[in-house]
């Protein structure tokens, strides 16, 4: 099979493919302000709370649809990797945990890769799925980033990665630790080819994911309020017995400490990415009367603040 699979138009697929919501699934409580949000409305607003602007987690396929021009992209197929290489078992077998996650998500691992254009610039985008074992990075996720980078170099595209991850997948032991150098090599292949490598840090990005490809981008963008860090807040509190300052490890905190270029709202992201990619690829600005290549939903909720 080629790396190209079927052309996906998420909006159309959404109309025909998805089951109707069950009644108990109609509402969701905002973790930010506790408002009860009508789920369909929340989804129409890219999972941003209309009341307080809190950014809830977003399905990776919806994310790809929101970023690519016109919501159109091709999925990039990722080579299969050995499943459960260590035969790891805690209270439950990792092989079973992995199968459960695969069945639930209908995807192979905690990442989805697509290619298309953003702001008219050819781009490969890899999006983590936090719902799949906490977006943890093992061989499957590492291989997806290596594949995305190769694809970007081959097609002279920019590479954008949106991590959302608790860190390395410990059930793959040191093999998951090795994804740190592997993904950094991948990022450098894109950079060496003179192509942009942009990281969009989303909630949460921690551990070995932050400490690898996610911190070596040409540009670092973060979604407002996203938790971003190396050590977990609980680890720091318990080992050091320090009280954590307000806003610690949030996107705005990292920006103020020099680690992030720009903090954006989810609705600002497609336009911001497109604009930056056009600068770096020396493309002309879009005509003002045409507007940017914005095709996503109309922005709602508060602007980035702080």
């Amino acid at each position: 099979m080629s790396w190209l699979t079927n052309l996906v138009r998420p909006k159309i697929r959404g109309l025909v493919g998805e089951k109707k919501d069950m009644p108990d699934n109609l509402w969701e409580k905002c973790p930010g302000c506790s408002a009860m949000l009508f789920k369909r409305e929340l989804e129409d607003n890219l999972n941003v709370c209309r009341a307080c602007g809190h950014h809830l987690k977003l399905d990776p396929v919806k994310r790809l649809g929101s970023l690519f021009d016109g919501g159109a992209y091709r999925l990039v197929e990722v080579p299969k990797v050995p499943q459960d290489p260590l035969k790891f078992r805690d209270q439950k077998r990792y092989a079973d945990r992995l199968k459960d996650a695969q069945n639930k998500s209908k995807r192979q691992d905690a990442i989805v890769v697509g290619e298309g254009s953003v702001g008219g610039v050819k781009t490969v985008i890899a999006v983590f799925d936090f719902g799949f074992m906490g977006g943890s990075m093992g061989m499957g996720v590492g291989e997806a980033i290596v594949t995305a980078a190769r694809r970007a170099v081959a097609s002279k595209s920019a590479l954008v990665v949106l991590p959302a991850s608790g860190g390395a997948r410990m059930q793959e032991g040191a093999l998951s630790l090795m994804q740190m150098p592997r993904t950094i090599i991948a990022a450098n292949q894109v950079k060496t080819a003179g192509l942009p490598f942009i990281v969009v840090l989303t909630d949460p990005t921690t551990g070995g994911v932050t400490a690898s490809f996610a911190m070596v981008g040409d540009i670092h963008i973060a979604e407002r309020g996203a938790q971003i860090g190396f050590a977990g807040a609980r680890v720091i509190e318990s080992t050091i017995r320090e009280t954590l300052p307000p806003g610690f490890q949030r996107a705005e905190y990292l920006r103020d400490h020099g680690m992030i270029d720009i903090v954006v709202t989810r609705h600002e992201l497609p336009e911001t990415l497109g604009r930056i990619l056009r600068f770096l690829r020396k493309e002309k600005a879009p005509r003002r009367d045409q507007g940017p290549f914005l095709t996503g939903p109309v922005p709602h909720g508060a602007k980035a603040k702080g």
Binding site: V81, P82, P85, L86, K87, F88, R89, D90, Q91, M139, G142, V146, A168, M170, Q171, E172, G173, A174, L175, S176, L177, M178, M180, P181, R182, I184, I185, N188, G207, G208, T210, A211, S212, F213, A214, M215, V216, I228, G229, F230, A231, G232, V235, I236, T239, I240, E242, L244, P245, F248, Q249, Y253, H257, G258, M259
Partner: protein, 318 residues
């Protein structure tokens, strides 16, 4: 010497030998034969114990307080004329990472490693071998220095992990580690890594993305500490022994998985019982690894290093 719980039969025998020696000091008793017998017994016990250490026991040995640490190697004959260099040129000097210029068997080189300290005072000075961003940035600086002057790099890895603190986060611990791995992967000079004790996660890989990764027989190298893994997956750190086994963190496992290149055998009863012997063995292994890659030019060296890591997980797996 710090005694480990599983070594009790050995420490009991050693105490007995001490006692006999004490007795013989006072009189003309000839007990050399008796002592010799007991020493043989100690040897047999050590062979039996260390020949089949469990992963959890290896964790204890790898962290043994009397095991030679980074500075013990550097000052104990591995490196001549060691000239420590300090500072990241941005914020501070971090003594958790030792680095500098020296000669390895006559050849000028850059040596970098984590130092855990040997007593309370030095442990505090070295922050127990847990580096902050400035430590990793110093390491990057020294690797660039080596690259600029064509000097091979020798790293000695021994850390529980990067320091988890508010200030470390504020100064970009994640970025410092990521960049350190990146610099390892970019320097066009031979980079030989030796995991001498504990290779703890991101804090270890920051100095370990090299051309050859050597590991001491009873060292460990893991994505997370067994205690941390147990507290997450078993919801209790008391399951650390099971986690240690599941993580496959021993040198023997990692060689099989293709993550390390070579195991350096330890003296009988572990490196802590014969530090000088261990230092000599590490020296021989590093010399041989340097020799392996000495014929490669910069381009070939980097290509091979990248292929080595990109290919990981593709061989040696069932």
């Amino acid at each position: 010497m710090q005694s480990l719980d599983f070594e009790k039969p050995v420490t009991d025998l050693e105490a007995k030998i001490e006692e006999l020696r004490h007795l013989s000091d006072g009189g003309p008793m000839n007990i050399a034969g008796e002592i010799g017998k007991l020493q043989d017994k100690v040897k047999r016990q050590l062979q039996a114990l260390y020949g089949k250490l469990t992963p959890a026991q290896k964790v204890q040995v790898a962290r043994h307080a009397d095991r030679p640490h980074c500075l013990d190697y550097i000052q104990g004959g591995l490196i001549e004329d060691f000239t420590p260099l300090a500072g990241d040129r941005a914020f501070a000097e971090d003594q958790a990472i030792i680095g500098g210029l020296g000669r390895f068997r006559g050849q000028p080189c850059v040596v970098i490693g984590q130092e855990r300290g040997n007593d309370t005072e030095s442990r505090i000075r070295h922050n127990f071998g847990m580096a902050k961003p400035e430590g990793y940035r110093k390491a990057q600086r020294l690797m660039h220095l080596a690259d600029r002057f064509g000097l091979p790099i020798v790293t000695l890895v021994d850390t529980a992990g990067a320091f988890p603190g508010v200030e470390a986060e504020a100064r970009g611990q994640a970025e410092a580690i990521a960049r350190s791995v990146e610099v390892c992967l970019q320097v066009g000079v031979p980079l030989i890594v030796t995991i001498i004790g504990e290779g703890g996660s991101g804090g270890a890989i920051a100095l370990a993305a090299g051309d050859r990764v050597l590991m001491l027989e009873h060292a460990i190298y893991s994505v997370i500490s067994p205690e941390g893994c147990a507290s997450i997956l078993w919801r209790s750190a008391s399951h650390a022994a099971e986690a240690a086994a599941a993580l496959r963190l021993t040198a023997q496992d990692l060689l099989q998985l293709g993550i390390i290149d070579r195991i350096i055998p330890e003296p009988l009863g572990g490196a802590q019982r014969a530090p000088q012997d261990m230092i000599a063995r590490v020296g021989d292994a590093i010399a041989s690894a340097l020799n392996d890659v000495s014929g490669l030019d910069k381009k070939a060296l980097l290509a091979a290093r990248h292929e080595k890591f990109l290919g990981m997980g593709k061989k040696g797996l069932a």
